[in-house]
């Protein structure tokens, strides 16, 4: 299994623990991640507004880099997944592709010929690795760990999301947590938006939004929350104290990247997964797991 | 029947629980069995089912019943059916009565089952008592005249007349205006397919005009109608055209006529173009009019108005077709059935002064816009303002008069689609900016929602809100010389001022003014002013008067699709009625005992249906059994008790009341 790895800006920057954890998990599961040296930001919906044609061309460039390697793209971010997949879909239209390729040509870049698929790690784990193999690799089952499944919004708006889940009522993270031996906690707000994009304008609303989601997860019995999107992580983890203050309640819900959760179950050392970089401490919740012996393969 | 020898059967229906969940049907059955002369008492889950009726018939045959009470739902539902079953089983059907224990007991007293049961027993006892006093009635029939009159030659009347003619009936199609075609002939295009209206209508006009079974009377109005069993006699006034059928259609008379000329003191507006163009005193409404026979409007003619000083039309006519001596002529038309297809007219928008209709030159109603858009219209199909320039912007206001308690509370059903059609045609023809102002968008027909989407994608503006006014008072430079529509955009929550060059009012559909006709046909109107149908849901083409049918917008606002469908259904109903050859006369009407009648005429004075008259020679009241509705008003005023309604005689009613009344009554 080889993929053109697209970590995205968050995992390449402020959430680099996501990058570390993903590489660890990939190595353990025998997934080869090929770095795309020239790949740029997916635009995150912002470049799509400041320079819409440019955003499409930049994503076409990223896809053409993957095409050169003969690989599909693997993402670890809901927003990257959405915007790259959307770009890939509109670039399947020959007219659009020709128009964008003219831009690439002008900039001295190779054209994109179409056909590259964009897949999120969640889909790759469930479909490409497969449930049996994944279960076989679990060396430290997440016994008794009540994990809230927080999908966020963008991952499920990806035009291909319905290939592995029902966007309106998803279950894939719950299935994954169960495979890892954990106790999946489902709650209504799991498909809600974390509010990330409104941070600059209305942080007050964003923290209320995330407080509501986290409170719901906690009330449903989750002792931690796993998310497939680092932007959600940035809001739910880094601004949790503000959310608690704004809503007048104690939250204290550690937020794990999906890759970190998988890494824990695969027996990877929590330090290597970068859990110590989080604002809300993760250690108290996973202590019990750490004490447990890792089952040798 | 002699007392004490009746064999009465009582049948109690559960109505699948509707009755039996409240009323104790076992108790009612046992109670009924104890009534005098009741020889059979039974209950069943559904008396209206095939098995229920079979049980009724078997019991009649086995026990030789000569009286039946069915305790079930309202007699409006199944009385006729049960009587039919009884008749098949050999019993006189008029010996069967219904006790309504569903609506009057189970429904009305849902939460008092015991009282409901007692009431059911009482109603059954009352009907048993009545049945004991009933006598068998003979059913009379009358032959039905084989002709049919269709009143109104718009698309509904034309379609109905064609179908009836094709079915072999002798049709008289009566149209009050000089041409057939109705409002549809005024239209430019029809939604949602944007077919040319005349291209679809004109062949039907020609078919009906040339149909061997259709006798066409144009410029003729029904003045009176007399009803007799199986026959209507219509008095039709043929208005004088002053042009004979020698007319060859050369148009020289119109060209020569001085009326409405630049210097003429007499000016007439074209009815056909709804006041948007002048017309001469002698004219053909429009080029495809049928018959192609010119009409002279005496009210606006110099010959008639100025002591015969003109007559130029007669001078120029090469066919010698002008005949100033014509007078209105009354024609009697005998038919067996009548189809009322009198159509609609647009609501008078000047009743809503804030929209400026009649005040501002460039405020039009929808039918006028049809004429402006039509290639046969006053502007040859160019949408132009009164000053002759094309509009740059047009506002279309929906629901003008419709859905407004102050004017017409009903939805006129076609205006949303017509407005969308105007929006499409105006954008296509002029490129003008078009705004639709609507309360709700109602696009409920085949292809209609799709048409709405199509128009929405044509850069037509939609503002959800009912405009408060149209004004020429400018409050900003861009409003100078424009008509500004003031409206709250309820979606944006803000008041808008939209300056436009032209305002189109999508006016309500009003029923055509046919009160006189409806009165002579004894037809009712529903509260909205349209002709009342027999039953809105299950019998929308018949009326309460047997033999009279209703088609098209006479019954309610309709688009062309629905009008055609209903006109076809009305024609089918009329054809079946005519084809039955004879009609059954309802025996449950008034009858006169000549021995008691004193010919005092009180009965004929109170009768609302003109069903009783006094024969001046025999000095006795005579009931027209087709007109009598059996209302009983005459029986109340009759001083001698000579007139009674069958099966509602005083003895029969008293028997019921005695059974219902508490037993111990003070003497």
């Amino acid at each position: 299994m080889r993929y053109a790895y697209f970590p995205g800006c968050a995992a390449s920057g402020s959430c680099r623990e996501l990058d570390d954890a993903t590489r660890g998990v990939a190595e353990d599961l025998g997934i080869e991640l090929v770095d795309l040296a020239g790949a740029a930001c997916c635009g995150a919906g912002i470049l799509q507004e400041t320079n819409p044609e440019g955003a499409l061309a930049v994503n076409a460039h990223t896809l053409s880099l993957a095409q050169t390697e003969g690989l599909d793209v693997l993402t670890v971010c809901g927003t990257c997944q959405l915007h790259l997949a959307r770009a890939a879909r509109s670039l399947e239209d020959p007219k659009t592709r020709a128009r964008v390729n003219r831009v690439l040509e002008k900039a001295g870049q190779d054209p994109y010929r179409g056909g590259v698929r964009v897949r999120h790690l969640l889909q790759v784990l469930l479909q490409d690795v497969g449930e049996r193999k994944l279960a076989a690799h679990v060396r430290r089952p997440l016994d008794g760990l009540a994990v809230g499944a927080f999908y966020g919004c963008n991952l499920l708006r990806d035009p291909g999301a319905d290939a592995y889940d029902t966007p309106e009522d998803p279950t894939s993270i719950e299935r994954l947590v169960a495979l890892l031996g954990g106790n999946a906690v489902s709650f209504r707000a799991r498909t809600a938006c974390c509010g990330f994009h409104a941070l600059a304008v209305r942080e007050d609303l964003v923290v209320r939004l995330s407080a509501a989601g986290l409170a719901e997860a906690r009330d449903a019995g989750a002792t931690m929350v796993a998310t497939p999107c680092p932007l959600c992580h940035l809001v739910l983890d880094a601004r949790q104290r503000k959310a608690a203050k704004a809503s007048g309640q104690t939250l204290n819900v550690p937020i794990l990247h999906l890759s970190q959760l998988v890494g824990l179950a695969l027996g990877i050392d929590p330090g290597r997964l970068g859990v110590d970089r989080h604002v809300v401490p993760v250690t108290p919740v996973i202590e019990k797991l750490e004490d447990r012996e890792v089952v040798k393969a | 029947m002699t007392g004490g020898t009746r064999k009465i059967g009582v049948f109690i229906c559960h109505c699948g629980g509707n009755i039996s969940d409240v009323v104790d049907v076992n108790a009612v059955r046992e109670f009924a069995a104890q009534q005098d002369e009741v020889v059979a008492s039974t209950d069943f889950r559904f008396m209206c089912s095939n098995q229920g009726q079979a049980r009724l018939q078997e019991t009649i045959k086995e026990k030789g019943l000569d009286g039946v009470v069915v305790a079930c739902c309202t007699p409006k539902m199944y009385e006729d059916m049960f009587r039919g079953s009884a008749k098949e089983a050999g019993m006189n059907p008029y010996l069967l009565e219904i006790a309504n224990v569903r609506e009057q007991c189970a429904y009305a007293h849902r939460h008092e089952p015991e009282q409901a049961t007692e009431k059911a027993k009482a109603l059954v006892a009352a009907q048993v008592a009545k049945v004991r006093n009933l006598r068998p009635l003979d059913v009379k029939t009358a032959p039905i005249h084989d002709g049919v009159a269709v009143i109104g030659a718009g698309i509904a009347g034309i379609h109905a007349a064609l179908l009836l003619g094709n079915a072999g009936h002798k049709v008289t199609l009566i149209e009050k205006s000089p041409t057939i075609g109705g409002n549809m002939a005024r239209f430019d295009k029809t939604f949602p397919t944007l077919d040319c209206a005349m291209c679809t209508l004109s062949p039907k006009m020609n078919d009906v005009f040339n149909h061997p079974n259709v006798d066409l009377m144009t410029y003729a109005e029904v003045k009176d109608a007399v009803r007799a069993p199986g026959r209507f006699t219509l008095t039709v006034v043929q208005k004088p055209r002053y042009v004979t059928d020698a007319c060859i259609g050369c148009n020289r008379c119109t060209e020569a006529c001085p009326v409405s000329g630049p210097k003429s003191p007499i000016k007439v507006e074209s009815e056909w173009n709804l006041g948007l163009s002048p017309r001469k005193a002698i004219y053909l409404p429009f080029s495809q009019a049928l018959p192609q026979q010119w009409t002279l409007d005496a009210d606006h003619c110099y010959y008639f108005q100025r002591n015969h000083t003109c007559g130029i039309c007669a001078k120029v006519c090469p066919a010698d077709a002008i005949d100033f001596t014509q007078r209105p002529e009354e024609v009697q038309v005998e038919v067996g059935a009548v189809v009322v297809a009198t159509g609609y007219r647009p609501f008078d928008a000047s009743q809503i002064p804030q929209y400026g209709f009649g005040k501002y030159a460039d405020v039009y109603h929808g039918l006028q816009v049809e004429r402006l858009l039509s290639s046969t219209g006053p502007t040859n199909g160019k949408l132009l303002k009164k000053d002759g320039t094309p509009p740059q912007s047009v506002g279309i206001i929906h629901c003008v008069g419709s859905r407004d308690e102050k004017y017409r509370s009903y939805c006129s059903r076609v205006c949303c689609m017509a407005s969308l059609k105007y929006a499409h045609l105006i954008r296509e023809r002029t490129g003008a900016r078009v705004y639709n102002f609507y309360m709700d968008m109602r696009a409920n027909g085949k292809g209609y929602e799709e048409f709405y989407q199509r128009v929405a994608s044509e850069q037509v503006g939609f503002v959800r809100g009912k405009p408060t006014r149209v004004t020429d008072q400018a409050t900003a430079p861009e409003e100078e010389g424009k008509l500004t529509i003031v409206v709250e955009d309820t979606l944006a929550g803000v008041v808008l001022r939209v300056p436009v060059d032209m305002v189109v009012l999508s006016t309500a559909m009003d029923p055509e003014d046919v009160d006189g006709l409806l009165a002579s046909l004894k037809l009712d109107k529903s509260p909205d002013g349209f002709v009342k149908e027999y039953h809105l849901k299950i019998n929308p083409t018949e009326t309460a008067v047997k033999g009279i049918f209703v088609a098209g917008c006479a019954q309610s606002p309709k688009d062309i699709t629905d009008t055609i469908a209903q006109a076809g259904a009305a024609a089918m109903s009329a054809s079946m009625f005519l084809g039955s050859g004879s009609m059954t006369l309802n025996p449950l009407v008034a009858e006169v005992n000549p021995d008691l009648c004193r010919a005092c005429t009180r009965c004929s004075e109170v009768c609302e249906f003109d069903a009783v008259r006094v024969d001046p020679e025999a000095l006795v009241a005579i009931v027209d059994e087709t007109s009598c509705e059996g209302c009983g008003k005459c029986t109340v005023v009759c001083p001698t008790g000579a007139i009674t309604v069958r099966q509602f005689t005083k003895t029969q009613i008293a028997a019921s009341i005695d059974a219902l009344a508490p037993k111990a009554v003070a003497p």
Binding site: I46, V58, R157, A200, V201 | A456, G461, A492
Partner: protein, 159 residues
């Protein structure tokens, strides 16, 4: 409140929106408000209403719409599109409006941030999403792609 003025002589604002990428579906929008209840921001802030923003566009209130802060309160979560009976994508219509706002030189925290992040992509090939926290060595240096990205973005803008 002063009534809004519609100028029929200028092309309607919604036509401009419909010809902006993402805004195409505005023509099919009917006032069903199916986009309103799934909106997480609308649920918290009664001042934010997608149908109202679209209504403003349809009423031709261009300046007011493009200057309004609520364009930037939208979290781009696209929950609004799920229930739309017309396949309209209200969230993307808002995206189109933000494009127009940026082009029209709108100012405020939203437009400023969008411009800053857009510039970051052009300069460094990626954006710095965290507004706080320790700068990572990786974030300090431009991505390997930055020159290529600059070329592509400039070529797109020129086309």
């Amino acid at each position: 409140m002063e009534p809004a003025r519609v100028r029929p002589e200028v092309p309607p604002f919604w036509v401009e929106v419909a010809s902006t990428p993402g805004g195409e579906s505005i023509a099919t929008c009917i006032p069903c408000e199916a986009c309103s209840s799934p909106c997480p921001i609308g649920a918290l802030d009664p001042g934010f209403s997608l149908p109202r923003i679209i209504g403003r566009v349809k009423a031709g209130r261009r300046q007011e719409t493009l200057a309004a802060e609520d364009l930037w309160t939208c979290t781009r979560c696209y929950a609004c599109a799920a229930g739309c009976p017309r396949h309209a994508r209200p969230g993307e219509i808002l995206g189109a409006l933000r494009q127009l706002a940026l082009r029209a030189g709108a100012d405020g925290p939203g437009p400023r941030r969008a411009r800053a992040l857009g510039a970051q992509v052009r300069e460094r090939g990626r954006i710095d999403l965290a507004t706080r926290g320790k700068p990572s060595p990786r974030r300090a240096r431009p991505a390997a792609s930055s020159a290529a990205v600059r070329g592509i973005l400039d070529a797109a803008e020129a086309s």
